[in-house]
Structure formats: C-alpha cells, structure tokens
C-alpha cells in the first residue's frame, strides 16, 4: 500500500513534524494514533464537530461536516479531521493544547499519619565460621519473618557487604521492598486523581506527611475521545486499543514521576508507593483490565475492589519493588474517585445527613450519614465540562468562567485572556443571569426581544445563531444558544432527579439534609447561587453548600499517607449502596420535573 506523508504543525508552537500514513487513512485517526492531540468529544464519529484542523485538500465538504463550519472557516481551509481522507501528502495545522486550570486543592483531615512504607535502620553482626547464618536469616532473626521479593534478595548480599552490615531497609505490609545504604533517608509517595479530562498528582513525604509538590495535566487519553464511553468503544473496536489507552495513562504516570524528580531533585527509587483514584473506567484502563461491560447494560465492571500491584507490573518507574494502590470503586458509575470524595468529606462518620455532588461528565450523587450511604450516577452528559455546548470549552486559560449582566464587560475569563469559549461555571452563570433577567422562561425557552422589557444593551445580545435564538456573551460571537440551554436543562434535570430518587430511597425531605458537599473542579468554580438559580443545586438546599475542591485527590492523599484511611476507604466502598437510576420508575418523572427552571 502507498504510504503518504502528513506534515503537521501545532498552531502557536514550534512543533512541526512528518507522519507517514497509509493512503486512504482517516486524518483524525492518523493524528490521534500518533499521539497528536485533536480536540474532540466523540472519538471521530462525526458527532461533536470539535476536531477542526487547517488542511489543504480538494475533497468536497459533506453535508454532515458543513453543519459544523462557518463560511469564514470554510474559506480559511478549516475542516473536521474526522471527515478528511489522507489521499495525498498533506499539510495540516492543528490547534495547540491550551494550558489548563486544573483544580488540585482539596481539603482533608487526617486522624494520624500511618504510611504503609517504613524505612528503618539495621546493624547486623558480621558472619564468621562460628556464625554462618545466611544473609536473609541474619535479617529475619532481627526483625522477624518478612517476605522478600526476588529483586531484593538479589541485592541483599552486596548491600550488607558494601556497608559493613549496617544498612536501611524499607518495609511495606510485612514485605521488604528495598535494601539501601545507611545514608538513604527519604520516603516519598504519589497520589494521583485520574480524571476523565484532567489529572492531578501530589508528591508526599511519607515520613512527615508533608505535601512536597503538586502537578496537573490533561489526561492524555483524551485523544481517544472525551468521555469514557468513547474510550471504551475504542478498546473494543481496536485490537490493541486497551493497550494504547493503558500506555497513555502509565506514560503519564511516568511523566509525573519524572517531573517531580526533576523539580525536587529526588530519585525515582525513593518513591515507594502511588495511590490512584478515578472513575471505575479509569481504574480499569490504568491497570489494563478490559472495561467493555461498563459501557452497556447491565453495566458490570470486572472488579471494584482495591488493587495493590507492583508498579513494574504496569511499567511505572518508581522504586522497582514499589506499589501501585488503587482505591476501591462501588459500581461502574460510582468509582474510586467518589469513594475518595466520601473519605475526605468525612460525611461517612457524621450523624447529620449530607449530600455529596461530584459533577463532571456524570453527576455522581451520594446521600447519607454514618449509618447509611446511598449513591447514584446521573448521566448529566459532559455539558458542564463544556462539551456539547456550542462554544463550550473546559476550564482552560481564556474560558469565560463568570457572567454578570450588571457589569461591563459582562464576563471574566480564566487568566484574563481573550475569551476562547465558555466553561461550565460560565454557562451556569450565564443561564442563571438569563433566568434572573427573564430572558429564559420556566420551560427554558429563550424569549424574543418583543416578549421582554429590558434596556438597549442587553437587547443587542438577542441574536440568531445558525437559525436558533441565542444570547450573545462576548462581542466576538460567543453565545448561549437555545440548544445549549436545553443541554443544561437535561443535565441539571438528571442531577435533580438523581437527588430526589436517593431522598425517596432513604425516605427523607430536603430539610433533613444538613450539608451539601460539592466536589471536583466544576463544583469548585461554579457560583453556588447561580447553581441554585438554575436548579442544579435544589433551591431548598441553598446555604448548606460547602465546596470541598478536589476531594478525590484529597482522599487519595489520605489513603497514601495513612493505611487507616485506606482501610476506611475499603469500608466505605462496601457500605455504599448503589442505585441504578435506569432501574427506577421515579427517575423519569423527577427528571421531567427537574428540567424546569
């Protein structure tokens, strides 16, 4: 088969490279399978319209493609990569990945430091003809029976001999995972929250419990699709797709290790454990475990329990005998991240009934107290993350994050940059404002200018966008369309319905809920009042909201630096009852009610 050259440039960066791909390949697939980021939420299925690239080609524009392109874009040679076939050598310009504004701060309170990793000193008597005990026995005679992996057994003799029988050993749950010269002292661990979109990592000193460094990045799996379903599809359709997705995550884990080591001048072998949390699919993919049954009813994961494996089993380069620990999940759509949320919120030990919301692609909802915890996942869609919103974007630099119609300009952006789109908190604000000013009615319809009495400036914002009523947010054309409002109604309706179903299961009213914990990046940046205004947080709960930031990351840190907290996470996962919303009759009804403003 003829091989063609695709020369690509990353816009605004000094990156320009050649790919060699087979004649007739799909351009989108050629780019992502070579690790080049192209925005998308559908994985190249002609649905999302996000994979815009600049490319010179004579290929005609399909009707389905044309929907997503403005005339200016067409003139400028912008095409959707998923519609373009590589039929000759090509030059392609792809957008740069924008710097992201990832939430890494979370709140946590530890009862006590109790890392699984202990580094201890030991001095042994020297061998002689009168004392011919073997090296290992010399050690176990001092510290009792321990397990010793082959990799350590291979090191023992030379470490003892070269250090005159005075050395350090690192013990983890009854296993010696390292023997080291006596001057080695540091003990590090890493906690990672693997979000579908973003990753937050924390370097911790496991002897002091001190946080040493924080790092965040986009989830490199995003090139395979924005949501977990698209990624699972990829593992089903492509023979080595699961391997590719796993390597994307483990590659990122190694990048995190390298980054921390470089920044802090430490050695990777001084990192002995990594605790990971994430949704159930992320836990499967990180470990290379097929996740396909998560995607389809009856939604069965391969596993939900906590997993402890040697890092080298998945090619992660911390200490060669170091461990990766994944927190337990509850079900396909209540993952280890939510267990970590519950852990760090401490709602599981309180008398008072709390509600916990973690809103991302799905809206995970947990209700309960120390006696009972019940959870569900409302398929809110990724609207709050900016996907499926006309000008939606993640929480990146330049995203409109707040809207206030009484100010000028009426918006702010992340990093105060020129607006490039509108992120979740901006959308919630915008719609809240539109409700407040009567621009939207209770059914969610954007009224026409004639139906309302407002001053001139606001009236100028009533526009038509591709035949739909829309409300202009910034002057360059970023607007909220009628379709966007409907997306938000569906999303918040689902979350409202989820909350109501759980309340009904437990048999309580809104007044019984004393506290609402909002976890996650979106939850941290939204204005709680706007969220109440649009009904994302039921109005009855206004004033009870605590934004707890990256609670999943905080829970991962807790489980890393304290084995007691890890054990609590396992207990929490067992305690939580999962309610499958597609299995309840109330959900549809509450969903319909919940969509009104």
């Amino acid at each position: 088969m003829r091989r063609l050259r695709v020369n690509y440039t990353v816009r605004g960066k000094e990156i320009q490279k050649d790919l060699e791909v087979a004649d007739g390949s799909n351009l989108f697939e050629s780019l992502i399978s070579n690790g080049i980021y192209v925005p998308n939420t559908c994985g190249g299925r002609h649905i999302c319209g996000k994979c815009k690239v600049e490319v010179k080609t004579n290929q005609g524009i399909d009707k389905d493609e044309e929907r997503f392109l403005t005339d200016t874009q067409k003139t400028a040679g912008i095409r959707l990569a998923c519609f373009v076939k590589v039929d000759s050598d090509m030059e392609v310009r792809v957008p740069a990945e924008k710097e992201s504004n990832i939430l890494t701060e979370g709140m946590y309170s530890l009862r006590s430091m109790n890392s699984r990793i202990k580094k201890r000193s030991l001095t042994l008597s020297r061998p002689s003809l009168q004392d011919q005990r073997d090296d290992l026995k010399r050690i176990t005679d001092e510290i009792g029976d321990v397990r010793v992996p082959l990799g350590v057994l291979r090191e023992i003799s030379s470490i003892l001999e070269n250090n005159d029988y005075k050395f350090k050993y690192v013990i983890r749950k009854g296993e010696i995972i390292s023997v080291e010269p006596p001057n080695s002292d540091k003990v590090y661990g890493i906690a990672i929250d693997i979000g579908t979109t973003t990753i937050a990592a924390y370097l911790e000193d496991l002897s002091s419990g001190e946080k040493i460094d924080v790092y965040s990045d986009m989830n490199p799996q995003k090139i395979f699709g924005a949501d977990v379903i698209t990624r699972i599809d990829y593992t089903i359709k492509k023979t080595d797709g699961l391997d590719e997705l796993q390597k994307a995550i483990t590659g990122e884990m190694n990048k995190i290790v390298d980054e921390f080591c470089k920044r802090k001048g430490i050695e990777a072998k001084a990192i002995y454990e990594m605790v990971i949390v994430g949704n159930t699919t992320m836990m499967h993919l990180a470990l290379g475990i097929p996740a396909k049954n998560i995607a389809n009813a009856p939604f069965i994961p391969a596993f939900t329990s906590a997993i402890e494996i040697k890092a080298e089993e998945i090619g992660v380069r911390i200490n060669p005998q170091g461990y990766i620990v994944s927190l337990p999940s509850v079900a396909s759509y209540i993952g280890a991240d939510i267990v970590a949320d519950i852990l760090s919120s401490r709602m599981y030990e309180k008398e008072e009934i709390s509600l916990l919301l973690d809103i991302g692609t799905n809206g995970e909802i947990v209700l309960g107290n120390k006696d009972k915890l019940i959870a569900c996942s409302a398929a809110a869609g990724p609207a709050f993350e900016g996907a499926e919103i006309t000008f939606g974007t993640g929480g990146v630099i330049g995203a409109i994050d707040h809207v206030d119609l009484t100010k000028h300009p009426i918006y702010t952006t992340i990093g105060n940059e020129r607006p490039s789109g509108i992120c979740g908190s901006g959308i919630v604000d915008a719609i809240a404002e539109m409700i407040k000013f009567g621009i939207i009615d209770a059914t969610g319809r954007i009224l026409s200018k004639d139906e309302i009495s407002l001053d001139g400036d606001i009236l100028n914002r009533f526009i038509q966008y591709k035949g739909e009523p829309a409300f202009l947010v910034d002057d360059n054309g970023i607007c909220i369309t009628q379709g966007d409002v409907r997306q938000i109604q569906l999303a918040k309706g689902a979350i409202y319905a989820g909350i109501k179903v759980l309340m009904k299961e437990v048999g309580i009213e809104f007044e019984d809920i004393k506290r609402v914990y909002i976890a996650g990046g979106f939850g941290n940046y939204i204005d709680p009042e706007s969220a109440s205004q649009i009904g994302l947080i039921p109005k009855q709960l206004t004033g009870k909201v605590i934004q707890i930031g990256n609670a999943a990351g905080a829970g991962a840190i807790m489980a890393l630096i304290s084995d007691d907290e890890f054990k609590r996470a396992i207990e929490i996962a067992k305690l939580v009852e999962y309610v499958e919303l597609s299995n309840t009759n109330e959900f549809q009804e509450e969903f319909m009610n919940g969509m009104y403003f």
Copy 2:
C-alpha cells in the same frame, strides 16, 4: 579490532558452524561463551587438561600444555583449547557431548496427596440490572476472599462472558492463578533436581499424583566449569556472568517444559508449578541471586529459605501465573538437594539413627534421627564423578562402570560400548579389586610387580603412565595411576573424616548407626562391597546400606505433589545442624586416618 572466523565441527554429529570472534581471543572462552560444549573441570584455567580439541595452528605447545598430551595426540593436531589463541581463521573439531546415563529413579512414599494446586468448577448467576455485582465479586461471594493477580483480573470478564458464567479456576494458596473454560481439566507440575553435572526432571499429574514422564540432561552450566566454585568465579569475574549462568538453567527449564509438552501432547499453561532442588549454589544461580560469598570463608549464602516466585519472574514459560518453588537449604554446602534426600529417606522421623551419604563433587553427610539431625559437607573433590582422574569420566555411555579382575574382560561399560574412560563406580571397583589382590598396600601405594605374587595376565597390567606406576584396566590404555589412587584416598578420607566428626558431635559409635542411605547417581551405581573395601563406607557399616537412588528428585516430587511434604522439608531444614568441618579440630586427624585402606 579484527574479527576472525572460527569454523567448528562437532565430532560424530552433523553440526558445523561459524563463529565470529575478536582477534587474539582465547579459543576455549570463545567456544564456551558461544554455548559450545568443551569438556573441562577447571573453567579454562590450564589445570584439568580436559578441553582437548582438534585444531590446525602453528602456535607452539607450552610446557604446561604438553603434560596433558600424548605424542599421538600432538601428531593428530590435538590441543588444549584453553592454551590456544585465535590468531587467524581457524577450523576446530570439538568432541560430541555423550549421551548420559543419569539416575532419575528415586524412592518415595507419600502420606497423602495434597497438591497446592486445585482446579475447580464454578457456575455464577448472570448479571442483570438487579444484580450489578462486578465479575470479581461474583466469584469471591461464592468462594470467599482470594487474591487475584493482575494477569488473571484481565482475563476474568471474557472467560465469564464467553462461557456463560460457567468456568474453571485454579487456586493456589488462596490465590486464583488461572481462569479457564469449563472443559479444561488437567493439572500438571514439574519437579527438577538440578545437579551440578546432571539434571533430572519429572512431570507429575497434580490431581492424581501420577508420574507422567521423566527427562534427564546434562546441566548446561557445565560449559562454564565442572564445579560450583569455578562457576561462582565466573559470576564474579564476568560482568554478566551471573545472568549467563542463570539463563543456562532457566533455558534448560524451558527446554524441559517444551520436551514434556511435545512428548505428552500437553500445553505449557496446564503446568502450574515447578519445584526445584539442588545444591545451595544451584538454587542461587537458578534464581539469579549472587552466590559469591558461598565460595570463600566463612561461606555465607544470600538465603537458605524456601522461595516461591512466579515462574515468569525468571522467564520460565509454564502457566503465566504459575510458580517456581525452591526447597530450603541448610548452609552453603548442605543444599536443598540434601533436604530433599532427608525428606524422601524419612530418616527424620525414625527412632533409629541413620547415616545419609550423597556423594558427588562434595560428599554431603547427614547423621541422626527424629530428635536430632546433623550434617556436614566433606570436600571430596569431584574424583568420584571422574574429574581429576586421568581417564575419569562421568556416567556416560562407554564409561567403564564395573571392574572384576576374575572376569574376562575385567570390566563392563555403560551401554556395552567401546570404553571411553572410567566413571566413579568403575574407579571404586578397580581400587577395591587392587586392594583385594594386594596390588595396593594400606598406604595406597601401587606395588611393583616384584613385590607381589600374581599370575601372568594381571602382571601385564602393571605399567608406567607418564612416569607413574599405573594399573591397566582396558587394553587401549585406560589405566588407574598412582595419582588417581591418591585422589580417591583424599576423597574417601574426607568422607570418612566427615562421618567420624558427626558421630563424635552426636556421641555415638558405628554400632549405633542402624542404616546407611546412599543417595545420588554415583551412590546408586557403586557396588556397596567395593565401597566398603576401599573404606568409602566405613567397614563397620557394611550390610546396613540402602541405595535410595535419586533421593533428591524423589524429595522434590514429594514437595510438589504434597504441601504437607513441602512443609516438612521446611521443618527439616530448620532442624538440621550444620557442622563446618574447616572449623573442627578432629577433622584433620580423622582425615589422615581415613586415607589408609
């Protein structure tokens, strides 16, 4: 550097190949580092004179080399490979490895079958929206908490789905090591006795305990030297020497697996465990653990305990999650093979006091009963294995294995082939006969013809070999020299002294010893009367001897098919007291006494 071609032919076989080696390389090292067998016991150190090859070269013959060569050999172009430098392209003929006559039969008696490996059936209820338990939990809810390695976790979902939730699982000590379709039923294991010289392997059915097949081979490490010290030296001197020696053994283990699979039409994945025994050095080298301190006082091994690792950790290709189990050793020179000897002899549970002898390169000696077991290793040298004996050879086809001066011819050979040398049992017989006929006096001196009165035929056998008195065994020149008799005196003297030292430690006399177990290949083939005649087995113990064959292999099988026996082996290793002979005063004295005939 100039590269030269060495073309080598293996004599009597259709093997002819080219090697490319650096100009100036040592011929011996070039051959062995390319895996080509050259007989040797000294590892190329100009000591043993065994590495004879046919090679055309103008290089002069060194005095040290000349000692080992007859005029006929020199004329025929025979040289010692260790003295030859590769200074031009060369043609070399190397001797074939002879078929070996390796003892694989041992005796054992099991109390009960109790394999660690169990294959069981399980049928699970199918998942539904009403029962969303994950696949792993479905299993643990039925069979209780188990450990599941990552490799199995990756298989579970597809095995369940593809077999309608009816499947088999293999469990080992609380860990599921395999999930399989419901029609899979066989469960195999392999026991291997890794001798310094030879390897014996047994394929066992772990559900019935039946022996399926037996395989034996030379230890491929022999190309690195005949004895453990030479091999340990190799690991010290050569950077990746340990790796080479380990790969030689693990390569052999894979060869054994392949051979059994081919012969019996089974799949490697149906082999779930391999139990290995061998001397302490072999256990280190098989696992890739540095053994250097075994070679020098105070002789400290890295470990002596039983080790259980995944086969894949050392690259052995049985079931991917299958295990390698090594039996425990006692000390540097009382290895897992001796523990296995004790296990299969059952001397450890008897009231009566027994003596166990395993004579190979070292003579390992165990004395005791159910209350006390004491052991030592007498550095007998490898004389009984044919090394350091002028015409000595291992127990190969063509080796003179028995000698009787009253018969004609006076010898028999293994396989009734033309005699190619004399092996341990033949040497013992020959010397016993020489004593019986008064050819040797009590001090071990070979008398001159004039000093004795014997008939003409025997008198013709008194010859001079390279200036030494010698006794001709076959007409083509295979003889026992005065030097050989001295080697045997040293060897049997050391064993005698070892026995006496242990007796003194325990405080018993010969009459207290009720049974003498002779283990191992040499021990099986020697004539016990000859052994008594030369004093290898003290005369006081004549009549108490039981030859128990490959007792180490038998013990390995027992530990493979019964976990109770494995636990017994661990108890035995703890029980045995090791006596370091170099540390006792009596040894030298008894050694001197023991050398007399």
